[in-house]
Amino acid sequence: MSDLDADPAPRVTLRGGDLGWRSVSPALVKVRLITLAVSLVVPLVATIVLAVLVTPWVWLGTLALMVAAAIIAWVIVRQVSAISWIELEEELVIRKGRLIRSLVSVPYGRLQFVDVQSGPLMRAFGLSTLQLHTANPATSATISGLEVPIAEDLRARLSARGETQRAGL
């Protein structure tokens, strides 16, 4: 297909490899689990109340909720450990997912702007989300769970490179 062996550039692959990929903070697992727990409280309480007051059959619903929560928790743990990113010469590459793997490569020259956001929960764990904006809003290149200083540094570097390598539409 191609003369890859003669190619000096590092190869970016869907499964990572030895390029020095950086992963996100494991604390993101906690943040996401807390979010999950909070969103489960209301339905859980509802099923328990119904089970006590109306019919014990509703316990089945409670059980189903618990099972679903366990599965989602497992997925969260796996997903967070699968997020990794790397800054290459001309682009930032983000890998995500295990079951559905994806790899997004955003050239610095295409960056319109870079956002760093963090909600109260994320802030409590010292984390933030970095979002890259290109001319297509559907690109959706985000890295969640970066420690705030890392995210700020990365944003500064990205903006600087964006300016030097900027290309018109």
Binding site: M1, I100, L103, F113, N136, P137, L169
Partner: protein
Amino acid sequence: MTEPGSDEVAEQGWEQLSPLSLILRGGVVLLAVVSWMGAQLVSRVGNFVSPGRWRDSSGQPDEVEGILSHPWVSLGILALVIVAAIGAAWMSWRFTRFRVAEHQVELRQGWIFRQQRQVPLDRVQAVEISRPLVAQLLGLAKVVVQSAGGKDSNVTLAYLPLPRAHDVRDRIQRAASRLEGYAAGPADEGGAPTGVVRSAPGGTEGPYGSLPGDLLGLAPDTGRLVVQVPNLRLVLASLCHPGVVFLVLAGLAWGIAALTVIPDEWGPFGGIVVALPGLVPMLFGLLSTRVREVLKHGNFRLTDQGRSVRILHGLTDHRTTTVPLRRVQALEIVQPMMWRPMGWWRARVNVAGIHGDDSELTNETVLLPVGTLDEALTVLTLVDPALSPDHLRTAALGDGGEANWVTASPSARLFDPLSWRRSGYTVSGHGVLVRRGRYSRRAAAVPHARVQSMKVMQGPWDARRDLAAVSLVSTPGPIGIVIPHLSLHDAEAFLDEESQRTSAARRSEGTPCANPAPGDGLSSVDIALTDGHRP
């Protein structure tokens, strides 16, 4: 609340809209009010003449209702409402001003709440003239200045007399191209190569050009006529739609079933009577989309303006749109299955700044609603001269096995039994060509220099067969470029090589002329990143 004095206005170059736009903008409301009041009045008068019905259920005349129902009172209210509506519309017209300044187009609106909107000229993506049916009757036109920020940042000048609309459009385009450092030509037209045939059918040259002879009234229609779509072909093509076929078949089935089941005494049309209620909503839904299609693309003409193409379209509401060639991000030709016997294709483009979610603007990305492959290729190569017609032809018609084409992995056969041989990509020095679909075919082209970002995806089933899909992200628009079912190795190799090609292309494009507006907006937030970097 001081009204701008007329001297001051003339001095600063502020202009007013046509007073007739009062009728167009307020007219609908007024018409509704008048007709409603009219209807009320008629029934009141009827009641007045025969007062037997002019009582509530208790048999007593309702006093308040009685007073309100008096013809003079309702006439008075009617007059008041009309005067108020006219007054408000007149004030709003009086306080609406626009001007084409050196660096921006400005629009001031509002009488009590002032609003000023401006579009920097270097963000102007396209200037459109559109003429709804009523506006045509009054000789008016609407000028829409499309900006990079999406629909909310567009400036609409509604309405102007047609010659002034053309004048304003030309002034905006002239100013915008002056800003971009084009030394040549007073306007886009001036940049057209000499020797170009500058005549449109029925058109005559002049400042407002072919006005008298131009049926569409959208002149000046200078520039070379590249392609024109006969309305009959458009109608036929719109009818060649799976929904229409389904409807006809369903109708037949209903009819036959009903005819055989319905008792004879219902008569020969009993079946149809039974069948109709089921079909009407479907018919309505389907027809509305088909009719909209024809309305949108009727009278379609595309002219070559040198640095841009101008599209004239619309069966009843005439519109003209200028698509600057350098803003074209990706191109595509599509052939629905039912168009195959006729060999028809549709050509469309992604244009920076024209957003897919805005239904009013999406149609402007169609460069050829229906045409032969040759016409489609003419349009594509006009828009992107670096494209080779031969390559495009292979992309459109090829069935797999050509040299230079990387196609789907054979292990994708299970997922894509029909088109796995065909779907794939080829690369030239200029861009990537992608083709998909065996029966309903599509072929897309994106220049290396226009790829925004790239994505590789692999779902669980893909992973089992060592497949992956690559997506080349363009700006928002109808075209999404995805190469599915490549072998993982091909996909990763493509990503690697395409990264280098796109970066080389970006570097060589970095001249001010090809890069008129750094970070062509899409959002004002990026100004922080781009300011101080303008060429």
